[in-house]
């Protein structure tokens, strides 16, 4: 066109009347009413016995139970992750006997209830009173009695850890499969061995897929450890059970345990967020902000900085 390039005129900012949304107000009012009702009943119902809760919340027996629960969670997840990686790699092995072994393990441990497995390990000495190391049908070198090696704590740890391994195996396998074939090929073409390729290239990238469900498993494990109370391991739940068996303050003590479980799962969720952020590096153009960074940014915008 031949006309002079006109100075572009910036149109006025749009100032429209927003759509009315009465539904939102109704929903908000309803939620407000319900939470007020709930709050009042929790605060005023004397049977909650908030005083008792406060008294036992940091009592040494409860705290010891909490430590046992945390130890058990950490150990079981460690066992589960190691077994899970091993089983996942075995499952993907070209050797049919190796991959079938992995399949069989997962079939067995996922196919029976974990509570039954805990009871089994708890009563292992009924099945194998004596344990020994040696050559099958040949000489035995070391003997133990089952009860001396497998304490209730060890039984619970083995049951939950071995069971977790079966679930972790599927999670790790999904992660490994999610890494593009091209990554393996590129590593191989550079002369990296199978082990190097797995450890340096595939697993770190599989972590992005593995971490979120593993965090989930850890949180789930924290609560599942309460099942070991059936074989008399003094975890958090069994500790409060022992206390209320004597003083009959059942509800307040169960609330004590629940609050502790909630606190730990909250902390674990934070940890999971940062782990995901770490293993997600390289996949997005920018790392997502941490909650602290987000808070600071919001504040600085509010102040118009």
């Amino acid at each position: 066109m031949a006309s002079e390039p006109a100075e572009p005129v910036r149109p006025d900012e749009i100032k429209a009347i927003p759509v009315r949304r009465p539904g939102r107000w109704v929903a908000a009012a309803l939620i407000l009413y319900l939470s007020a009702a709930l709050g009042k009943s929790v605060a005023t119902n004397p049977r909650f016995e908030w005083g008792i809760i406060g008294h036992y919340f940091t009592s040494s027996r409860v705290l010891q139970g909490l430590v046992t629960t945390l130890e058990l969670t950490a150990l079981c997840m460690a066992i589960g992750i190691v077994i899970g990686i091993l089983l996942a790699v075995m499952r993907l092995s070209p050797n049919p006997l190796v991959s079938a072994t992995s399949w069989l393990y997962i079939w067995f441990f996922r196919g029976t209830p974990v509570l039954v497995q805990i009871l089994f390990w708890g009563y292992i000495s009924a099945l194998y009173p004596r344990l020994s190391l040696g050559i099958p049908f040949g000489p035995q070198f070391v003997h133990f009695t089952a009860n001396s090696v497998i304490s209730p704590f060890v039984a619970g740890m083995l049951a939950l850890g071995l069971n977790e391994g079966a679930y972790m195996a599927e999670i790790v396998r999904a992660g490994i499969i999610s890494v593009e074939e091209g990554q393996t090929e590129a590593a191989q073409s550079l002369g990296m061995t199978r082990l190097q390729t797995m450890r340096r290239i595939v697993l770190p990238q599989a972590m992005r897929v593995i971490v979120p469900p593993t965090g989930n498993e850890t949180i789930s494990m924290l609560k599942t450890t309460s099942l070991v109370s059936v074989i008399a391991v003094t975890d958090l739940l069994y500790s409060v059970e022992l206390i209320y068996a004597v003083n009959y303050r059942t509800i307040p003590l169960l609330i004590v345990a629940s609050i502790w479980y909630l606190i730990v799962t909250t902390l674990l969720s934070f940890g999971q967020y940062y782990l995901e952020r770490y293993f997600g590096r390289g996949t997005a153009r920018e790392l997502p902000q941490t909650p602290l960074q987000r808070l600071l940014r919001t504040l600085s915008i509010r102040h118009g900085v």
Binding site: E180, L190, G191
Partner: protein, 251 residues
């Protein structure tokens, strides 16, 4: 540098290579063209033993690929030996295949450190100068997701060069790139061919590159090499009807 004698490769019942014979001299640049499915990429992957061949023989630098011959028996090489063979051959892929969790520099120094057992300091020095050679000095700390396709492919070339390979294989290195990014990758490859006299086998449809940098051009069709010659001969006066058809379709 590379010698192939009647190489055959089957995938299930589909025969992809039906007797490929080829000799590539040290310092020579060979371009392979042909329709998709004609077996070019498969042949490259066989040279690197990413695929195992079913019949024929393949040598790189005088050594049989993937096997050891004693008398008239062939023994499969052990994994470690296959890895050593592969480490001498650089490969650049169509889809770059950069390690996504590593920065450009980490991509380049990984194999020299793990495979060649270079000290980290030396590998970093070498990696930086290679990234400079491909024009990416300011991108060494970027992750692949933060780089354009052309930049990623140049990092991939630097990564392959970091192993000081005797032979470079390029599997359609510019086919996945936006048109305006093809030039920067071809420039780097031209530099390798003309300035460094690197032995290269390049599967490509970039006729300009073939014309300028290749010593020889091969046409593959249906698992065989049906025509070969200098770029001049190839583009000015192809003999085979199939070659004429293919060239007129892509030019």
């Amino acid at each position: 540098m590379v010698k192939a004698e009647s190489v055959h490769k089957r995938f299930g019942r589909l025969e992809v290579l039906k007797g490929v014979s080829l000799e590539v001299q040290p310092g020579e640049v060979v371009c392979m063209i042909g329709a998709s499915g004609s077996g070019k990429s498969t042949f490259l992957r066989c040279i690197n033993h990413l695929e195992r061949i079913d019949a024929g023989r393949l040598w790189v630098d005088g050594r049989l690929v993937g096997y050891r011959q004693s008398g008239d028996k062939l023994h499969e090489l052990r994994d470690a030996e296959v890895c050593r063979e592969r480490s001498e051959i650089g490969m650049v892929f169509q889809r770059f295949n950069l390690f996504g969790h590593m920065t450009a520099l980490e991509n380049v120094i990984e194999a020299p450190i793990r495979v060649r057992k270079l000290r980290k300091r030396d590998a970093v020095g070498q990696g930086k100068s290679l990234l400079e050679q491909v024009g990416l000095t300011d991108k060494i700390d970027n992750y692949p997701a933060q780089l354009s396709g052309g930049q990623q492919q140049r990092v991939a070339i630097a990564r392959a060069l970091a192993m000081k390979p005797k032979l470079m294989l390029f599997d359609e290195p510019t086919s996945a790139l936006d048109p305006e990014l093809v030039g920067e990758v071809l420039e780097v490859m031209k530099g390798l061919a003309l300035d460094f006299r690197t032995t290269m086998i390049v599967v490509t449809h970039e006729m300009g590159f073939a014309r300028e940098a290749a010593d020889r051009v091969l046409m593959m069709d249906d698992g065989r090499i049906i025509e070969e010659g200098t770029p001049e001969h190839f583009f000015e006066a192809p003999r085979e009807e199939r070659t004429k058809q293919f060239l007129s379709a892509i030019l």
